[in-house]
């Protein structure tokens, strides 16, 4: 059996192909995640008049490797009074569901793990499992601060998942398909951020809150909760919770690009995969920017933003989109 035959055999088996796609996504996320940690630290240093990491490698670019070695070699501490099995399982549940979500991301028209019929719905479903992992971590730690952080995280995720889904539904109504591939192909003439400005703003804020990044990071506010739901974790399990946060962020920036900025659609002279990765990283840097520019909201402000502003706005956006679609405005898509 030569290589082409082997490839075709694997391609024909959806299970094998799905596992390989998830693995490729995992490797991509780990390398990009490490790199983006470095970019974030450098940029944070720039914004705060510091240098950031400088010692390891040129410009400190290998700092994340040093961090990783530190995490792996540290003691894996399990709280003796906590619920040990639940505590140990929580980061694994978190990361594995997010990687499963990543297996349906299309990097280019042909480089796609699983072109499932439900596409984006599967992604939202996988996102909806992560509050359970967070609760498991908070409960298993047997620690007031962890549990408080976990409950804040769940409240925030539940309240922002609705505007997030509704703004995605507006795009789906326009395209008439849940498949991410078809959503991207529909953006041949014009990228959707121009047709869906309101939905785009709602989506951006909601994905920010979903990933729990700084203006919305009530669940792990260091000054009050000492770090939130993952405070009892150490060693590689703590590393996995951090990786989970970064995968959330990377998936969020991929979704921004796929839904509103034309996915792999290019300006020529580079293959579509490269364009998709470039766009994703621009979105990632912009998402990380706000962490260092905007101070944290209070919890009541966050819940207000979710329920009083984003939810009505996303419903309004869906109503307008539905009306325009039924009047036949978007029949050319």
């Amino acid at each position: 059996m030569n290589l082409v035959e082997l490839f075709n055999y694997i391609r024909s088996d959806p299970l094998l192909w799905g596992i390989i796609a998830a693995t490729v996504f995992l490797v991509y996320v780990f390398s990009i995640g490490g790199l983006s940690i470095w970019i974030e630290r450098k940029w944070a240093g720039l914004l705060q008049s510091r240098l950031g990491p400088t010692r390891v490698g040129p410009f400190g670019i290998l700092q994340f490797v040093a961090d990783l070695i530190k995490l792996v070699s540290k003691e894996d501490f399990v709280p003796p009074d906590g619920d040990k099995k639940v505590f140990k399982l929580a980061p694994i549940v978190l990361v594995s569901t997010l990687i499963a979500a990543g297996s349906i991301i299309p990097f280019s028209p042909s480089l796609i793990g699983s072109n499932v019929n439900v596409g984006i719905l599967f992604l939202i479903a996988m996102f909806s499992i992560s509050p359970i992992a967070v609760f498991m971590a908070g409960w298993g730690s047997n620690n007031k601060f962890s549990l408080l952080g976990a409950l804040r995280n769940i409240g925030q995720m539940l309240s922002f998942e609705i505007p997030l889904s509704l703004s995605i539904v507006a795009v789906v109504v326009m395209v008439g398909s849940l498949r991410i591939k078809e959503i991207v192909q529909a953006q041949d003439q014009i990228w959707f951020f121009a047709l869906q400005p309101l939905g785009f703003v709602v989506f951006l804020l909601a994905i920010h809150a979903e990933a729990g990044r700084t203006p919305f990071d009530m669940q792990e506010s260091e000054q009050e909760l000492m770090g939130g739901w993952n405070v009892e974790y150490s060693g590689m399990r703590f590393g996995l919770t951090m990786v989970g946060e970064y995968i959330h962020l990377i998936l969020g920036s991929m979704l921004v690009v796929l839904l509103y900025f034309g996915g792999w659609k290019s300006f020529g002279f580079l293959p579509p995969v490269i364009w998709f990765i470039i766009k994703t990283n621009i979105a990632l840097v912009i998402l990380m920017w706000s962490r260092w520019a905007i101070p944290r909201f209070r919890i009541d402000q966050i819940i207000d933003i979710g329920w009083k502003y984003l939810l009505p706005l996303s419903i309004l956006n869906l109503l307008i989109t539905g009306a325009l679609v039924s009047m036949g405005w978007f029949s050319w898509i």
């Binding site: 639940v86 599967f122 499992i129 359970i132």
Partner: protein, 156 residues
């Protein structure tokens, strides 16, 4: 695919058994959530992708989190499982189970293969099953209004 289905069914059954066997309430809830997710995976493996994704989204995501939060907010000791009203509960579950199971078996027969795809489910929901669909949404609305009323009454 057949072997995958068997493995998933086995896991679902084991975790469903563990729901009643484990003594810790949180463990029971987590096993129940796992079996919800397994049922979603079963739907996915027979090709009913829309049902699978919705099963994971609604049951594993929403209902599961609600269950965990309820355990956290209501249980004082956190561990004990109360056995009050066991027999009436069994009767009620039996009746409700029969009511729910009968249509769901016929629906499962309907949605196998390509019938479980999004377009076909949507067509079914908005043509043949339109009245049940609307009735369910009214039932949900009344539940929300009832919950709000109960919370408000305790306030004053």
């Amino acid at each position: 695919m057949q072997s995958l289905m068997l493995i998933i069914s086995f896991l679902v059954l084991i975790s469903a058994l563990m729901v009643i066997l484990s003594e810790d309430m949180v463990h029971s809830a987590l096993f129940l959530i796992f079996s919800f997710g397994g049922v979603g995976a079963l739907f996915l493996s027979v090709g009913a992708q829309f049902l699978g994704a919705i099963q994971i989204l609604i049951y594993t995501g929403a209902v599961g989190v609600m269950m965990l939060l309820m355990i956290y907010f209501t249980s004082k000791e956190g561990k004990s499982i109360k056995r009050e009203g066991k027999y009436s509960g069994i009767v009620l579950v039996g009746l409700l189970g029969f009511l729910i199971l009968y249509p769901s078996i016929s629906i499962t027969r309907e949605v196998g293969g390509t019938k479980g795809l999004t377009q076909n489910i949507g067509r079914l929901l908005f043509s043949d099953l339109l009245i049940p669909f609307e009735v369910i949404s009214i039932v949900l609305l009344s539940a929300i209004i009832g919950a709000t009323y109960i919370i408000r009454r305790e306030d004053h």
